[in-house]
């Protein structure tokens, strides 16, 4: 499969400036309705030391491996499973765009299953998220994540420390799940609820122990009752929680460094650093 020839075609048609999505024919394309589409930026995936031919991996690498492991386990249980993670790689960096074939080959080199590669300008990347029905957008760039969130796409910042665990660990911020009634709900709330429900369904495919994914709830400043409300709310959205931590004002970072989530979900965008 040649990315360059596809791009050449688009260019001649004068559409090179617009969003271009190339399907990776080496990877089975997921059922559009069944899959949970997760988009990750190239900048987040490739950031490590480069070889001559291949880009080094960055922060998002352990996450993609964990997503793949979940898919593997799901398919082991049911080879016809359609509720799988579908990974889309978004490249907005113009420098990286010039090396589009390098991106594709690096992905293959590192054994990553990316079903679609999207190339777009910084201004248009939201469009590529929407066109590709992205249900979760992960970036290392706070502004990017904020922008996407404001357009209704559920977004999260990737943990810069990198998460060494094999198990996919999704952390939910309880304080965001239960909001006081004041103020408008975040634009990405419907996306958050729908993602929670799909994730919950995926989680239920596995038992309490030996699950390839774990749902972790942390409430930072609320009391035990707020944690209870968060647990009930998530349950009503179809998402069961595996681990719950109620900090009631205690410092978060020592706990976060033990929890090692791959990413943290709130209703909008909440950083992992604060």
């Amino acid at each position: 499969m040649s990315v360059d020839s596809a791009r050449e075609t688009l260019y001649h048609r004068g559409e090179a400036d617009m969003v271009a999505t190339i399907q990776n024919t080496d990877v089975k394309q997921e059922d559009a309705h069944g899959a949970v589409v997760v988009a990750v930026t190239s900048r987040a995936l490739f950031g490590g030391d480069d070889d001559d031919d291949v880009s080094g991996v960055g922060v998002a690498f352990p996450l993609l491996q964990a997503l793949q492991r979940v898919n593997q386990r799901l398919l082991e249980k049911d080879p016809a499973e359609s509720l799988l993670f579908d990974v889309v790689l978004i490249t907005t960096d113009s420098q990286q765009q010039q090396q589009s074939s390098r991106i594709v080959s690096s992905t293959r080199h590192h054994g990553l299953e990316v079903s679609r590669f999207c190339f777009s300008s910084q201004e248009d990347f939201i469009e590529s998220l929407l066109t590709n029905n992205v249900q979760l957008f992960l970036s290392t760039d706070r502004n990017e994540a904020l922008q996407a969130s404001q357009q209704g796409v559920l977004s999260a910042l990737l943990d810069r420390q990198g998460a060494p665990s094999e198990q996919l660990r999704v952390m939910l911020c309880g304080d965001a799940v239960v909001r006081p009634d004041a103020g408008p709900a975040p634009v990405s709330r419907p996306a958050a609820e729908s993602f929670s429900s799909r994730l919950g369904e995926m989680r239920r495919r596995f038992g309490a122990l030996d699950s390839p994914l774990s749902i972790v709830l942390v409430t930072s400043s609320g009391d035990r009752e707020s944690c209870g409300v968060a647990l009930r709310t998530l349950r009503s959205r179809g998402l069961g929680v595996d681990e719950a931590y109620c900090l009631a004002g205690a410092p978060r970072s020592p706990i976060l460094s033990l929890l090692r989530p791959h990413f943290l979900l709130g209703d909008g965008v909440i950083g992992l650093e604060d």
Binding site: D223, R224, C227, G228, D242, Y245, A248, A250, L258
Partner: protein, 334 residues
Amino acid sequence: MRLCPLRCTHFILPPKPENAVTVAVSTRVLFRTEREQKVFEQNGVEEYLRYQIEHENEPFAPGPAFPFVKALEAVNARLRELYPQSEELFDIVLVTYNHAHVGIRLINTINHHNLFIERFCMTGGSSPIGYLKAWQTNLYLSADADKVREALAEGIAAATMFVTEKLTEVSESQLRVAFDGDAVLFSDESERIFKAHGLDKFFEHERDNEDTLLDHGPLKGFLEALGKLQKKFYAKGQRLNCPIRTYLVTARSAASSGIRALKTLRAWGLEIDEALFLAGAPKGPMLEKIRPHIYFDDQMFHVEGAAEMGTVAAHVPYGIAQKHNQKRNESARK
């Protein structure tokens, strides 16, 4: 005082971990969960979780650590009266490797019993030790001896608690904590001599080393923390009706081997309210008189003896006595 906007009634957030005396308890010691344990053992984890969710609105009954926790809260109430702005209080946290599916039932139970517990960790199976350290835990109580040993190895004061049917009534207004000496407050160095060479050698060794301080044991830090809070009451002229009282209950003799223990405590700057030297006599009757909320001992023989007489005793699996415990368990199994 920071108020939480999510509760209808005003409530006070617990103190910062670095200021508080943090006592971490597991669900099996704070509450009675034998029925659920049985479901887990007989039917596995999935059935256990289903059972817990099904019974979510039924609060658990109080467990062996419950009176102790209530007494800690009574001390907090007195401290808040005297020092309304201070964060030097007990902070009780629930640390369990239970799955979060049990969370709602636990929160309902805490609500039912009106406990001041706002912090908890439900680790869903992974070791809670890291969280104990993150919260600067001063004392960890669990039903699981392995977890207790892990905590001790990390330098955290810890003890195993057991469910007993007989329970003597304890004070609701004064916290009473009793400690064994060797291998609890002090190291097990003297006990090693006793076990290896017998009583006479032990006495000789203690006499020869009377002026050498004993090394510290795993619960020394907790006694120290209690002492700091006691001083806050003394500072406000409340020595006589201080709501914390500490006891040393040791097999050492007052006239001989006990001297070294007292000298050591004094050198550490630790006060103990009552030192009871039993010279080898059984501890049960003495504990029955004292009525502590908790008694720490490194020997299961004494823990069981205390429990028989209705005292809540906690086992500190530390030091040379543990090899002896293991042998006993093995011969019991034969």
